[in-house]
Symmetry: D3
Subunit: 241 residues, 6 copies
Amino acid sequence: MPDSLLVVSAHAGDFVWRAGGAIALTTSRGGRATVVCLTYGERGESARAWREGHTLDEVKAIRRDEAEKAARELGAHIEFLDAGDYPLRPSDEITDRLVRAYRETRPTVVVTHPPHDPYNADHPAAARMALEARILAQAAGYPAPGDPLGAPPVFFFEPHQPEQSGFVPQVLLDITPVFETKTKAMHALPAQQHMWDYYTDLATRRGVQLRRNAGPNLGFPTDTRAEAYMRYYPQVATELA
Amino acid sequence: MPDSLLVVSAHAGDFVWRAGGAIALTTSRGGRATVVCLTYGERGESARAWREGHTLDEVKAIRRDEAEKAARELGAHIEFLDAGDYPLRPSDEITDRLVRAYRETRPTVVVTHPPHDPYNADHPAAARMALEARILAQAAGYPAPGDPLGAPPVFFFEPHQPEQSGFVPQVLLDITPVFETKTKAMHALPAQQHMWDYYTDLATRRGVQLRRNAGPNLGFPTDTRAEAYMRYYPQVATELA
Amino acid sequence: MPDSLLVVSAHAGDFVWRAGGAIALTTSRGGRATVVCLTYGERGESARAWREGHTLDEVKAIRRDEAEKAARELGAHIEFLDAGDYPLRPSDEITDRLVRAYRETRPTVVVTHPPHDPYNADHPAAARMALEARILAQAAGYPAPGDPLGAPPVFFFEPHQPEQSGFVPQVLLDITPVFETKTKAMHALPAQQHMWDYYTDLATRRGVQLRRNAGPNLGFPTDTRAEAYMRYYPQVATELA
Amino acid sequence: MPDSLLVVSAHAGDFVWRAGGAIALTTSRGGRATVVCLTYGERGESARAWREGHTLDEVKAIRRDEAEKAARELGAHIEFLDAGDYPLRPSDEITDRLVRAYRETRPTVVVTHPPHDPYNADHPAAARMALEARILAQAAGYPAPGDPLGAPPVFFFEPHQPEQSGFVPQVLLDITPVFETKTKAMHALPAQQHMWDYYTDLATRRGVQLRRNAGPNLGFPTDTRAEAYMRYYPQVATELA
Amino acid sequence: MPDSLLVVSAHAGDFVWRAGGAIALTTSRGGRATVVCLTYGERGESARAWREGHTLDEVKAIRRDEAEKAARELGAHIEFLDAGDYPLRPSDEITDRLVRAYRETRPTVVVTHPPHDPYNADHPAAARMALEARILAQAAGYPAPGDPLGAPPVFFFEPHQPEQSGFVPQVLLDITPVFETKTKAMHALPAQQHMWDYYTDLATRRGVQLRRNAGPNLGFPTDTRAEAYMRYYPQVATELA
Amino acid sequence: MPDSLLVVSAHAGDFVWRAGGAIALTTSRGGRATVVCLTYGERGESARAWREGHTLDEVKAIRRDEAEKAARELGAHIEFLDAGDYPLRPSDEITDRLVRAYRETRPTVVVTHPPHDPYNADHPAAARMALEARILAQAAGYPAPGDPLGAPPVFFFEPHQPEQSGFVPQVLLDITPVFETKTKAMHALPAQQHMWDYYTDLATRRGVQLRRNAGPNLGFPTDTRAEAYMRYYPQVATELA
């Protein structure tokens, strides 16, 4: 069974900075990756566009265009729910659309925001809906097309202020083989150039930590790049490693 | 590189009840497993032998014999440091012997007690020494034979009162293929027959949880048996799963 | 004053598996027990009924019938709010009905779900409403019949995946005298036969822990059965014990 | 079986300020109370005596005298181990003396310091020894006179800076009936007069909280006095209350 | 730039008991202080008025009048949103009014309730809105008058049951110079006379702790009064102190 | 009163990487800074020197020389206790020397390692001694020259793997004015050139976070550099900021 990765992203750019490596790894190995963007980040994460005088619809179009380009670089399918940001309000309708996305894509892995972020209220709102929809999609009695879901593992990607958000890396994912691809995807988001460096430095830092924890496993080169994740559920394993 | 598993156990029986499955999995697949028992559990975990009127030396001999039989069933090498239990006191000498065990066995995986247990003071003492020795073994300047160690991952096995010890399963290890072997090893410890049922039931319960978390991964049968572990360091991964 | 126990249960079966012993203890000693089921668990916890092809109304009727039988076995009064499950959405209307239940039953003890459960979103939703209604019922100005409530202690019963839900047993309740009654109540829920064994084993396991913590108190027999609870508020005591 | 309360106190005054109520409750009801003072608090908690120019032996004698008077007021037996304070160093010898105290007094309840206190290193050291000795006293093989102990519950009394020490009241103990006795015991410690008011105010504050949490239990008067405790092990109960 | 303090208070009295000192310090030094009361506390915190038989509108008027007097004593501007208490329900409309308050007052410091309180559901609701509005006010695209906000620090004042609410003092604020003013403001709330003593005692207790932690800083007199606060974001500093 | 900063460092380099900015800020403003190095880091943090074939004494001399140069750059006095590293064992003798250092330097601020670090056992050992000695130095009865100390605030500097060590930045200290000085001090440690970049990047990252949290405080330039600290005790303040 090929991998099916489902990424639930509050705003148009989140999936690129924080899970671009995981997405590219999946697609580069023949798996499918689906990104569901709940909003375009039109109000809360588009300061430059507003300063340039664009209207709300223009801002949305700009962000959508960028996110589609980034998704294309990563080889991912992307879908926009246009739920409205700042604030993003959980609703039964959005949650239902996520349930349907779960039942359609039948993810083997789910990636979303961590449930706590003192700097951003939309991110936890997105996480709550992503987590609840996953549970609803498993229920035989939930009225949505498709069979009840299994229980795919959930990973939280790294928030922008990790320590203040209670984020402690539990998985250090080697993204070295696809870091060039992730870089291209980041460059598809020109309005946030300061983020390019920031997330490149972060990948380096997480790479250093990966090598520090890789122990006797000598295969990781000096310039290893990594992304950090937390698990929401215990890992199922057939060996300790 | 074949696996090399190092288990640091405070008393003679601990490694059987709590990590017997992981040990048997390793050896059944051609890896090496080494158990270092810091004590025989002669004072603190041999109530029956004391009630039967044995001397201290006899109690030690009984426990040693049992532990050797259990290790044999599991295919593991076993070593006894005879450091004295109840209380087990950390010392530079025991720690040094553990450093040497690390440098000799060059473990790819380390398993020991979790560092907190309100029902037992020897278990955390063993964990502290196991963790410190692992760090010392990595130091170029530490005066023990052998090359400095890499940084093998550390797993804590499940304590007898998990919730009160802050133990939350992070890895559910499928031990179904070797559960018969673990059972034989448990039977090598006749003085604690009530534990046979207890740890069989626990393996069933953890197996139920494994299946609940295995999601779309349909390979696990109804009678899956599992052991639970916590990680002390972040997992290094080349894919999310 | 006889005891008055109020149990707030998200779905039709929850109160049986997790608090059946506490309910039976109360009623067996002449106290009153009232169970408020917010939903029938019709969508989320009735997989078998859906597989058998029942309609929504039929599923509700089946679950209601079972829950009434179980309540009867336990000697409890039961009330259904039919608030709709998967998702159960907190609302002022349901909360108000709970306020009225508090003011009518004037509970001396409240039992409900713990406020965190990564496997189920309805359980925390029920807990939130149960906790909020208890506070509202204490307010002189809240417009519901009856006098303002005192502040009854709140206990959380054990969730299905306790460790992942942050559940640490703080009270181990001896339910040995009523375990037969609890068993009959469980048998009133035939669609979940695998749960019978599961919660019987759990009662045994919690009983072992009870005896381990009962210390010099030698009154507890080998086959002690127990239920585990957490407290939400500090215990008020006239002696340390 | 009458109650047997064992209090392990790092310094000569600790048991009075923080557990005087629990001690007086026990003895007023016909139980026995034994206080083991590991040190006199001669270096760390006798600033006035040092300022007055006393020698070490004089300071010890002063503190011993005061503590004996306070114990007498409370009806407790008191024993001094003279282990040396600031720093109090855990040792096998002191621990062994505590094991013997456990086996002799056969406590039904144990009270000591909480295990964390950023303002005092002796308090956690005393707690560690008290907790370890309790475990050793349960071991059949531990070489001390008397039968192996059961597992008495342990309560931590309130430290001087509770919030910074991770102290959250779990039990609010009504000490109103013996508050006059506790006051007399406090007055036996004249060097710390500022503490009289401090711990009287604290008893009032904890009493207010007790009444706030006592709910429909209307027996507590306006001037209720209380002491706060934490539990180290789960409560064993035959009813929820 | 003079200080601008914004206090978001769930009910009419909260800001007086818990932040009266901080407010008076600000205004006594020439800064501005604005209190936004989301409700009058008409249902949940006006037991006496209800017992006296007042109507809802009368209760509101009484509480409003008292709060205005208290604010006057403190030199603060006060605004009432009349959002309805017990329960206070978060809404986009109230949140928007708070966004506007942020953009108008441009606070250099924000003070509100801590986000967890097991004794009160309105307080966390107020905190959530205060925190979210602060984030929204920073967004260029949020449609409210005024420039996007900077990111002022947020302090949580002390709840009525601090330990049970997870409140650990991180900042001890010396309010000695304005304690007389705070007392006058408390006296403007005659319906809660028992609170006068309670919060005077608390100010003394926090003052004792302030002096204990003030170290070599000898400027604090014996009768120092203090208020305790937690920080939600890291402190920005130009020196360690 | 000029500032007196006391830094307790387990190994020769720790104070440079992690607190160099705080030290330089202190001395650049006319305060005194004293660094107490418990060990040279001769065994555990001198891998290059060992690979080059140096003897133990040579390694110590190399590290001492480097640390003295770095201290000179920072304007700090430095003292070496040569207590032996890997493992650094707490002892009454070392602790006593720290007590004397406290009483001599009479610090207004103390900086040391955080008390938990899963990658290094010497760091927590150093922190424990630094914290205990500070308490002992306050005791009138502790037999060391000098007057009893006040209670200076304690800050923990950032460990090498912050998230895994439970390190959450609570204070972001602007070190921009002295970053050049810190850089020179880092260059005095040539054996760890990879650390130069690492800690320069970290200073940038913490600077970005400082600006993000500085809110309406516009004085911080784009290239702000910062060090992160945690507090061990509550902050004493005369204003909220």
